[in-house]
Point group: C3
Chain length 666, copies 3
C-alpha cells in the first residue's frame, strides 16, 4: 500500500472535534438567480447538508477576462454557507478553461490520435502538458488561495475536477515534448529505450530522443509499438498527476493547513489514471462513483469503494460525487428504485467513506447535464428524491460514531494492478476479448456470494499480511513482483492466479521458456500455447462448470501440483483446467479459463476452505448480505429485493428490509 | 400554416389555361450524344411527358472555365423541348460546383465536425456560407436568367437541387463567422446568448461574440452545449435558406413572372432543413421522395406527401423526384413490385401533387447513380418499367380534372415540429432511443388503420380548426405554444400528446416543478421522474397492449383526469399509462409509452370516438384502403396485395385491384 | 497467363544442381543478442532449414543515421549462415523507414482518405509515390547490392516486404501528382478522361489535369465518381509496382545473375495489389499466406496456392511466409491443431511451392508480433511446435524429387479477375453485399467436393485450353474479353458464369439494352432488372437448393437456352434460376443466385458431366480428399479429421491419416 506522506481530513469550520459524516453535493449557485440561494440554504438545512463542493466550473465567472476578476458572488456564497454552518470544499475551478482563454490560446486544446483538435463546447479541453494552460491555471489557483485561504467556511481544497475524465490522452506537440522528457527520465539513454521498446522489430530504432513521438495513428491495419503504447499510458497518467501536484504545491504554499484533494473517478472502465500512484499525493482520497447498470452493478460499487478505501490506507475517504437517481450519459438512463439511493450511499460508508456527496445539489434547468438527477430534482422539494435525500441525511447524522473508524482488514485480498490492466488489453494479443477488471470483479462477486470479506488492494501495496490472495490476470510480472509472490507462498500464503498472468516483464517482453514465465515454477506447470476461445465457444469442466474466453494447454511439471479440475471438452479435453501446487503450508493455484461468478463461487469455496479462510456469514445469508466492517461497526447490506432475517447477526427478530443497510455496533 | 406571400404554378408554354397534371423527369441530355436527344423527344411523347427538369448538374458544361460560357447545347435542348410541346423546369445549375472552381477556390469546400475537408468527387461540396461560392453561383444564375428568361419552354425556375442533402452542416471558419452573425441577430446581446445557452454550466460564459464557435468535435465522451447544438441546427437550416433566397431574389429581378421553386427532400430521416419555414419562400412547393423499405413504407410516403401538401397550404405542389423502381443508395436496392410505380405516384397526387416527376428520364450508363432506375431503364423502351411509365402517363392525362383542386381538410391532425424533432433527439437525454418522426408516423398509421383522415401539419401553423389534434413527442413547448394548446382545449378541441412532450422551452431549458412542465396543468398530471426502457424491456398495459421505449411515473393531480389505461408490469405497475382530462367539451389526453401502430390503433379508436371524429370508411375497408380527398375527387388507395370490393364507396361491383388507386369523382 | 520475361529460381550457394525444397523462415537476428545466433544455427540444422529471409526490417540497424552504415553485424550473420550451408534470401530492407528518416522527412508519410497523416510507430509508413522516400530507399538498395551482391550465401533478393500490406492507398499530394501523370498516360487527353469517368454527371467535367484529385473524403452520404475510384485502385496498384520495378532494376544493374522477388500477400481479402500484373515483374513468384479461420479455411489456402501457382505459370514458387501455429492479428488467435502445420505447408507444395518458409524463425520476446507463432516458440525447442517443424523439415527432404516439377494443368478452370473484384464491390450498386472472392471460393469448394481439379487462373491469362471455365461475378467485361469468351464457346468450350457478370466495360459503363449486356447473346437471355436479396431473404429453387444474396428477372430469348433450374419462391418464382445455352459442342451456362458450396456442388456435378469433365477421385473419397498433381507426383490431402482408406489411389492397405498429406509418385 502506498504510504501517504500525511493524511489530513476536512477542516470543519465549526466544532472541529465533533465526529460527523459529511453530507452534501456539488453546489453551483452561479446557475441560478441570487434569490434561489437563500432557498438553497434553507433546503440544505432540511436535508442535513453540512458540506458542499463549490466553484468547480466557475472559472469563467471568477475570471471573465484575462485580467479581470469577479469574486463578489463567491464571497457572498461562502459567507452564506458559513452563516448556515455549511462547510466548503472549494474547487480550484481549473477543470474547464473559459472561452476567452481558448480563443486567445487555441494551442492549449488537445489533439487526438487522429490529429483532430478537441474544441471547446464541453469541458476539459486542455492539454495536460500545455505550459500556457498551466500558467493560467496556476494564476487562478493563486487568486483563489489568496482570497479564500482564511475564509472560515473553507474545509478543503478540491483540485480541478475528475482529472483526466476526457483529456487523459493528448497527442499534441506539447505532449510529444513532454513524453520525450518523461522517457529520458525513465530510461536515461536512448539505447535503454530502444531495448525496452524492442525497436529492432520493424526497424524502429531511435537515434535521438527528438525522433520519438506519441503513438499517433499508424498505418491502417497495423499497430504501433506495444511498449510505446504502454509507456504513453504511463506518461499520460503521470502528466495529469504533474498537474495535480502543481496545483497542490501552490495551494500548500498559501494554506499549509488546509487539506488538498481531488476527486478520482475510480469506477467501471475508467482506467487512464493510475490512482494507486496518485493516492499518495493527496491529504485525503476522494472518489466519484456512478453505478454501472447490470447484474453486478452493486458489486461493482462495492468493489470500487473497497479499492478506494484501500488506496486511502484504510483511513476515511470522501465520496465526492454519486447520483441520487438517473444519470444522463448512458444510452438509456434508469431512475434508481426505492431504497437504492441510501443503499448505494451507505455501501460507500461501509467501505470507509466519511463523506457522502452527490452531483449536484439542484438539478440544472439547462446545459449538458440537465437530465442528471440531483438532491433537488426538477420536480422540486416535493418529490420522493428529496424525501429520500432528507432521510439519508438523518441516517448519516445517526451514524456519526462511525466517522473516523478504520476499515477492518479482511483475511483475503484481490490484487488490482493498473499496469496489468493496461498491458493485458493491448492489441496484437492472443485475444482482444480479455477484460481485466471484469475478471477481478467476478472474483469479488464470488467472495460476496460466499460471505467472505476480501480487500481489493493495489498489487504494489503491502498485501503480504493476507492469508489468501487472488491475482486475476496478473499479466505483467516484473522480477521483483515475482519474487514477492514466491516469498508470500513460501511464507505460507495462499495465492490464486488466472489465465494470462505472469506473461511479461515491465517492458511487455515475454518471459521465455513456456508460459507463465514469471510464475511457472511457483505454479508447477508449463504452457506451450494459449487456447483463447471464440465468442461462441464454451468448454466443459469436470466440476460441472463452463469456461469461456480462454483455455491453456497445461502440462503439470511438478509433482506437488494437484489437478483440481480438468477440461472435458474442447481442444484441452483431458488436460488440467485448475491446478494447485502445495508448498509447505502455502499454495499456488491456477485457473486457466473464465468461469464467471457462477463457476468461481464453488471453486473459491474450495480454495478458501483449503486456505483456512472461513465465511463470516451464516449459510442462510451468504450471497444475500454483504458484510463490511469498520472498527466496531458491522454493516449488513441487503443485496436483494426481499426482507432478510438477520437475527443471527443483529439480534433476535431483526429484519433487514429489501435493499436496506443495517449497522450493528458491538 | 405559414402563409405564402404568393402562390404561382407552372407557366405552361402552350395552352396555359388547360388543366393538366405535369409528368416528367430530370432530363440530363449532356450525358448522352446528341443523336439520342431526338429519340428522347419521341419517347417522351410516347410516355406522355409534358415537362422536364433541366440542367441540374450542368454547371461544368455551361461554364467550362471561369470566364467561358457554352449555351449552344442548352439552347438546342430548350428549343427541341419546346418544339415537342414539353415545358422546362430550368435549374440554376448551382448544386455541384465544377472542378475549375474548387481547384481555384478550395476555400469553398465544407469542413466537417472533425475538421475534415469535404473534397470534390461527388456533389454539393460547397459551404452554404461561403461568399466566394455565393458570388460564383449568382453569376451563373444571372447568366441563365438572362439567356432563358424569355424562352418559351421555360415553365419554372429550379433553384440549386436538394439543398442541404449533403452539405447542411458545415463547421468551417466561414460557417463560424456566419453563425456568430446569426446569433447576434437572434440574441442581440452576448448576455442573452449566455442565458439561452446556460453557459454558467461548465464555465462556458462568453465574453465576446468572437469567442463563439460551431459545436466542433468536443472532448471524447463529452458533449457540446446542447443549446449551442440546437442553435447550430437552426442556423444551418437558415444558412441554406439564405442561399435559396439569394438565388430566388436574383431570378425575380430578371423574370418576375416565372415561378421559382426548389426541390425539398421531405422524406424519412432527412431533417436538417426546416421546410415548414422554407415553404413560404417559394412560389410553389416541390418535393423529392423515395420509398423507405419496410412495413410502413407506403404509410411513410403518404405521411410525407400529406405534410408537403399542408406545407403548400393545400395548393398544388410538385413531386420533383421519385423513382420508377430501385434506387442505388441503400445497402440492398429492391425493384418495385408490379403496381407500386403507379400507386406511389398517385398517392402523391392524392395528397395534392399536380406534378409527377422522376429521377431521371434515361438511366445513366456511367457515374454514381447508374444503378438508379429511370423512366427508360438500361434495358430500353422494351421493358416493363417503360410500359408502366407510359401507362401512368395515360392515367395522369385522364386525371386532368384533378389538377388544381385543393386538398380537402380532415377533421383530425398530427402536429409536426422540426424543433421538437431536433431537440428531442439530442444527446445527454434520458434515452437516446427516442425517435420523433417514428412516433408521428405510428400515429399516422393508426389513423390509416381506422379509416380516419388526418392532416400532418406544422406545429406553428393554424391547426386550431381541427377537432382532434395529436402532438407526438412535442418536446419543445415555448410559452406561446403552451398557451395555444390550452386555448385549443378550452375552445372544445381534443388534444392528444405523448411521453417527452412539454418538457423544455425554446432554449431547451426544462420547465420546472414536475414534468411535463408546460402541459402539466392542461393534462392534470405530474411526473417526478422519467422511466425510459432498455431495448429489451417491455411493459404490459391493462388494455392488453405493450409499451416499449419509455414510461413515466405519473401522478394524477386533477380530479378531471381520467385514467384510461394502467401499467400492469414494470416499475410503474399500477400507475396510469394513458390519461384523459376532460375540460368542458374539450379534452387533453396523454400517452406515456411507445405503443406502436398495433397498440395505437385501438387506443386512437377510443380517443377519436370520444372526440366525435368518425371513420370515413366502411368497417370492411378500414386498414385496407387509404382515403384521400381533393375537391370532388376521392382517391381510394389499396394498401394491400389483394383485390378489394369497394362497392360501398365507388358503386356496385367496383373492385380495387391489388396495389391500385381508384379516383371516384362525385 | 502473363508470360514472365524470364524465370530464375534461387541461386543455391552449395550443390546448385541438386534438387531440393527450400525450408526456412524470416530470420531476424537483430532482435537477439549475438550469443543466440550460434544456437540458431544449431537449431536450424536440427530442423532442416536451408534458407532464411534476412534483414527485412533492418534499415534502422544497417543505416542508423542519414550518412552512417553498419554492416558488421550483417556480415557476421551472412558468413555464419554460409558456414552452416544455409542460403540467404536477402531483403532490401526498405519496408519500414527508420525514425531518423521520417523525422527529417515527414513528407514521406502517407495521408489517408480523411486527410489524416499515417504516423510512424508500426511499419510501411511511406508514400509509394514519394520521390524523397524513393531516393532514400534506392540508396539503401544500392548499398546492400554493392556489399552482398557477391556473397556466397546470397540466393535471391527480396524487394521490400509485403508491398502494400498497409500503404497501398495514399491520398497525399504526392499521390495526387502521380495519379495525374498515370491518368495522362492512360487517357492521353482530358476529354478521354471525362468520357471514361462520365463526368457529365454531377458537373464533374475537368478542364485541366491539374484539377484532378484522388477520391478523397466526399460529402457525407455521397460517393465519389466510381470510375475515379476504380482508376485510383488501378493507379495505386501500379504505383507500388513502380516501386518494385525501381528496386528490381537497380538490383539487376548490380547483380544481373541473382534472381529478384518480392512476397505477395495473396490471401483472403487482400486485394489492393493486382498480382496477376505484378507476377511478370519477378524472377520467381513468392507469396505469404495465413489461414483464414472458418469452415472454408483450408479451401481458401488451396485456392490461393492454386492461383499463385498459376500466376507463376506453373513453375516453382516460393511460400515466403506462413505460420506454424497462431497469428496475432485476428480478434481471437487460435493455435493450429496437430497435423495442420504440415498439411498447410504441403498443400502449398502440392500447388507448386518449392519453398516452405515461415514468419519467423524465433518468436519475438517484444514488439508488435511477439504473440505470432514461429519455428521456435516462446516455449523453446522443447515444444510440440518445434518438433512438428523438425518433422516437416524431414518430410520436405524426402520430397526433394518434387522440386522443379510443374503443376499438372487441370481440365477445368476458375477465372479470377482483380478488376471485376474491385469494380463489383464498389458503392452505389444494386447490393453492397456482393463478395467477389467468396463466390469464386464457393465454386472452388464445389470442385474440391467433386474431386475435380480446377485451376484458378487470371482472366487475362490463356485459359482457352481448358474444357470447362467458370467465371464467377465476371462483372467487368470489356469488348475484347467478351469476344474471347464467345470464341471459347464457339470452339466447343463450356463456360459457366453467374449473377452480376458481363455488366460493364472497362470504364464501369453499363452495357445497355438489358443485362448482362456483354454476355446477353452468348447466354441467350435478357434481364430487365436485378433482384438482390436482403440479408434475411432466401429463395427456393426447384432442384431443392436455396439462393441468397441475388436473383435476376430472367427472360430466355434464345431457343437454344435450356432452363436447368427455376425459382419456386420469391419475386422470380417460376422464372429461370440457372440456364444453359448449347452452342454446337460448347455451352454457356448462367447461375443467377448465390447457392453456396452446398448448392453449387450438385449443380456443378451436372454442368461438369455435360461438359465431359469427370471426377478424378473414387466416389468414396470425393469431398474428403483434395487431389493435386505435380508431374509424376500426386498429392492426396486429407481435408477431414478422420483416417481415410486410400487404397484405390495409393495401393492396397494405404491409409491417409487425419489431416495428413500423402505423395504418390508414379
Amino acid at each position: 500500500m502506498p504510504q501517504h506522506p500525511r493524511h489530513r481530513w476536512l477542516r470543519w469550520p465549526s466544532e472541529p472535534g465533533r465526529p460527523r459524516l459529511a453530507f452534501g453535493a456539488d453546489y453551483n449557485p452561479e446557475q441560478w438567480p441570487r434569490e434561489v440561494w437563500r432557498e438553497d440554504m434553507r433546503a440544505m438545512k432540511t436535508a442535513g447538508v453540512n458540506i458542499v463542493s463549490l466553484a468547480i466550473f466557475s472559472w469563467a465567472r471568477i475570471q471573465p477576462r484575462a485580467a479581470a476578476w469577479d469574486f463578489a458572488w463567491l464571497d457572498e456564497v461562502m459567507d452564506l454557507l458559513h452563516g448556515h454552518g455549511i462547510a466548503a470544499d472549494l474547487a480550484t475551478a481549473t477543470a474547464s478553461p473559459p472561452p476567452w482563454l481558448t480563443a486567445a490560446h487555441p494551442e492549449i486544446l488537445p489533439v487526438d490520435r487522429d490529429g483532430r483538435t478537441v474544441w471547446p463546447g464541453a469541458r476539459q479541453h486542455w492539454r495536460p502538458t500545455s505550459p500556457v494552460f498551466r500558467a493560467h491555471a496556476l494564476e487562478l489557483v493563486a487568486a483563489l488561495a489568496e482570497r479564500y485561504g482564511t475564509h472560515p467556511a473553507l474545509a478543503a481544497w478540491h483540485v480541478n475536477n475528475e482529472l483526466g475524465c476526457h483529456n487523459v490522452y493528448d497527442y499534441s506537440d506539447d505532449a510529444a515534448r513532454a513524453f520525450r522528457l518523461w522517457l529520458r527520465r525513465r530510461y536515461g539513454t536512448i539505447g535503454a529505450l530502444n531495448h525496452a521498446w524492442a525497436t529492432t522489430f520493424w526497424s524502429q530504432t531511435y537515434g535521438d530522443w527528438e525522433q520519438v513521438l506519441p503513438p499517433r495513428r499508424p498505418a491502417p491495419g497495423s499497430y504501433p509499438n506495444p511498449t510505446q503504447q504502454l509507456d504513453f499510458k504511463r506518461f499520460s497518467s503521470d502528466a495529469l498527476r504533474e498537474h495535480l501536484r502543481a496545483e497542490r504545491d501552490l495551494l500548500r504554499q498559501y494554506t499549509p493547513d488546509i487539506p488538498v484533494t481531488t476527486n478520482f473517478l475510480l469506477m467501471g472502465d475508467t482506467r487512464g489514471m493510475h490512482y494507486a500512484e496518485w493516492a499518495a499525493e493527496l491529504d485525503f482520497v476522494a472518489n466519484d462513483h456512478y453505478v454501472i447498470p447490470g447484474p453486478q452493478g452493486l458489486d461493482e460499487l462495492s468493489f470500487s469503494a473497497n479499492l478506494v478505501g484501500n488506496l486511502a490506507g484504510g483511513r476515511p475517504w470522501y465520496l465526492m460525487e454519486h447520483s441520487t437517481s438517473a444519470v444522463n450519459w448512458q444510452p438509456v438512463n434508469k431512475a434508481k428504485a426505492p431504497g437504492e439511493l441510501a443503499r448505494d450511499s451507505l455501501t460507500h460508508v461501509a467501505h470507509g467513506a466519511d463523506a457522502v456527496c452527490f452531483f449536484q445539489w439542484r438539478q440544472s434547468a439547462g446545459g449538458a447535464e440537465k437530465y442528471h438527477s440531483a438532491m433537488i430534482p426538477h420536480a422540486g422539494e416535493d418529490s420522493d428524491v428529496f424525501r429520500a435525500v432528507t432521510e439519508l441525511g438523518a441516517t448519516l447524522r445517526d451514524l456519526a460514531p462511525v466517522a473516523g473508524t478504520p476499515r477492518e482488514p479482511a483475511r483475503a485480498a484481490i490484487l488490482f494492478d493498473w499496469e496489468s490492466w493496461w498491458a493485458s488489453e493491448q492489441d496484437s494479443h492472443p485475444s482482444d476479448r480479455v477484460r481485466y477488471r471484469r475478471e477481478a470483479l467476478d472474483w469479488y462477486t464470488a467472495f460476496l456470494n460466499l460471505g467472505i470479506r476480501a480487500d481489493v488492494v493495489p498489487a504494489h501495496g503491502a498485501w503480504e499480511r493476507y492469508e489468501l490472495v487472488v491475482a486475476p490476470i496478473l499479466y505483467m510480472v516484473p522480477r521483483p513482483l515475482a519474487d514477492r509472490l514466491e516469498a508470500f507462498v513460501d511464507a505460507g500464503g495462499h495465492l490464486v492466479t488466472t489465465y494470462f498472468s505472469g506473461i511479461v516483464d515491465e517492458h511487455e517482453h515475454v518471459w521465455l521458456g513456456g508460459y507463465p514465465g514469471a510464475l511457472r515454477d511457483l505454479l508447477g506447470l508449463r504452457i506451450e500455447e494459449f487456447g483463447p476461445l471464440l465468442d461462441d465457444e464454451r468448454v466443459a469442466l469436470d466440476d460441472g462448470s463452463t469456461g469461456t474466453l480462454w483455455t491453456d494447454r497445461i502440462d503439470v511439471v511438478d509433482p506437488a501440483t494437484e489437478v483440481l479440475v480438468r477440461y472435458t471438452t474442447g481442444e484441452q479435453a483431458g488436460r488440467p483446467a485448475v491446478t494447485r501446487r502445495a508448498l509447505g503450508p502455502g499454495s499456488a493455484a491456477y485457473v486457466s479459463t473464465r468461469l464467471g461468478p457462477a463457476g468461481l463461487t464453488p471453486l473459491l469455496a474450495t480454495l478458501a476452505a483449503r486456505a483456512g479462510v472461513p465465511s463470516e456469514l451464516p449459510a442462510a445469508l451468504r450471497g444475500a448480505v454483504e458484510l463490511a466492517v469498520r472498527g466496531a461497526h458491522r454493516f449488513l447490506i441487503n443485496r436483494t429485493d426481499r426482507p432478510l432475517d438477520v437475527s443471527a447477526l443483529a439480534g433476535p427478530g431483526r429484519v433487514l428490509a429489501p435493499r436496506a443497510v443495517m449497522v450493528v455496533t458491538s
